[in-house]
Structure formats: C-alpha cells, structure tokens
Amino acid sequence: MKIAVVGKGGSGKTTTSALLARSLGRQGHNVVGLDCDTNPNLGLSLGVGDTETERLLSLRDQIDEGDREHAHTWADILDSYGTDAPDGVRLTVINRIDNPEPG
C-alpha cells in the first residue's frame, strides 16, 4: 500500500507522516518512510536523530551534485540511502530524479 502525505509547509505534514509510520511499525507492518521533501526532516520526526538525518541528506546532496552514482533499483536505494528508524521503520531519502525500476 502506498500513502502520500501532502500539505503546506508548517502544517504538520512531516509529523503526521512520522507518527503514521511509527504506529504502523509498532503494529507489525513492514513500513518504509520516504522523505521526498526538499527541506527534509522526516528522520528527526521518526526519531533517528540529528546525526543520522544529516548523514542521509549529505548522501542525497552528493547524488544531486553528481559526486555519487544513482542507485539503480529500489532495493539499492533502500540499502544505500536508507537507515533504520525505531519500530522497524526503514527511512529512505529520495531525490527528485531517482527513478528506479522495480526490483
């Protein structure tokens, strides 16, 4: 199942995404939190902490600047550009031009 969370900046969009993801994780679902925001802080709201959130963002910046190769599959993205958040949630940051084939 895919759930999109949208809204104006400051509306509580990221907090809403994070609490939905954490509660689904607590109930035993496999959950992936996708941070697609240009000003991303889903990591903080999921509870992975400042250092890990910054690390993921710097990886994404490296791709945007061409210093690092794009992941080619969804599994690669989850692996290379993701981190484990509490309650079993996998957090991944997405840049705008990533467009992997399923696999």
Partner: protein, 137 residues
C-alpha cells in the same frame, strides 16, 4: 518515482515536498491513499483545497483531510466548512508536538499517549490497516 516503487507486503509512507508540486507531477493512481494535512488557517486550508482537487482529479486513492493544531470549536468549524464532503480527521493542538520539534525527536518517544500523538497514531486504523494485515499492492 512513487508509482514504480514495489509495495507488496509493505506500507510506503511518502512525505511529499511542501505544497502541491509533487502531487501534480504524480501519474494518475500512483498511490492508494492521500493524506492532505492542513492547519486551521486560511492559507493552509487554501493549499489543502487545491491538493484535494488534484488528488480527486488524478484518482490518487482515498483522500483524507488531516486537520492539525485544532485549538477550539472555531478552528474545527473552519475545517468542516472548507471540506463539507471530505473525510476529516481532527487533531487537537498539543504541546508535545511543539516540544518534539524543538528537541529534534519524535513526539511518540516523548509521550505516546498525548492527544495529538494518539489521533495521528490512530490514522492507521482510520485508513483500515490493522495489526499484522498489510494489504498487497
């Protein structure tokens, strides 16, 4: 991107960019559920109304309005007036959310029983996802 992500046995929660830019670029039927998050302020409601139109036009699944920071009956009335036809979840204003923002942590790790945390955590039931039952596709 989102439409090509495999989601069998997995729930993908995509925190899209602020505003409706990403939503307008998604292909039709890219997601199963769209949560439109708003504050009870005119500007936020305006963005949410536009998002609701786009989500309906593009068939982005079931649409729910999530009204955050609702402090009083006037706030609540403003939301119901703005979205007379919609499925609405009212989330009370809650200092735990602000506290979590300031500290850079998850509200659920401060107080999982606080009013807003309870309602937002309960969204999974509202959407129809119950314990251990991850819908395919």
């Amino acid at each position: 991107m989102l439409s090509s992500v495999p989601s069998e046995n997995t729930v993908i929660v995509a925190d899209l960019e602020a505003g409706i830019g990403t939503l307008t670029r998604l292909p039709d039927q890219a997601v199963d559920v769209t949560l439109i998050v708003t504050e009870p302020t005119p500007r936020s409601i305006d963005v949410a109304k536009r998002a609701a139109l786009v989500a309906a036009e593009r068939a982005q699944g079931r649409v729910l309005i999530v009204a955050n920071k609702v402090a009083d009956p006037e706030d609540e009335a403003r939301i119901y007036e703005a979205f007379p036809e919609a499925e609405i979840v009212i989330v009370p204003a809650d200092p735990v959310i602000n506290d979590a923002d300031r500290r850079g942590v998850s509200p659920i790790d401060i107080d999982s029983e606080s009013p807003a945390v309870r309602v937002l955590s309960g969204l999974s039931q509202t959407i129809g996802l119950f314990s251990g039952e991850t819908l395919p596709g």
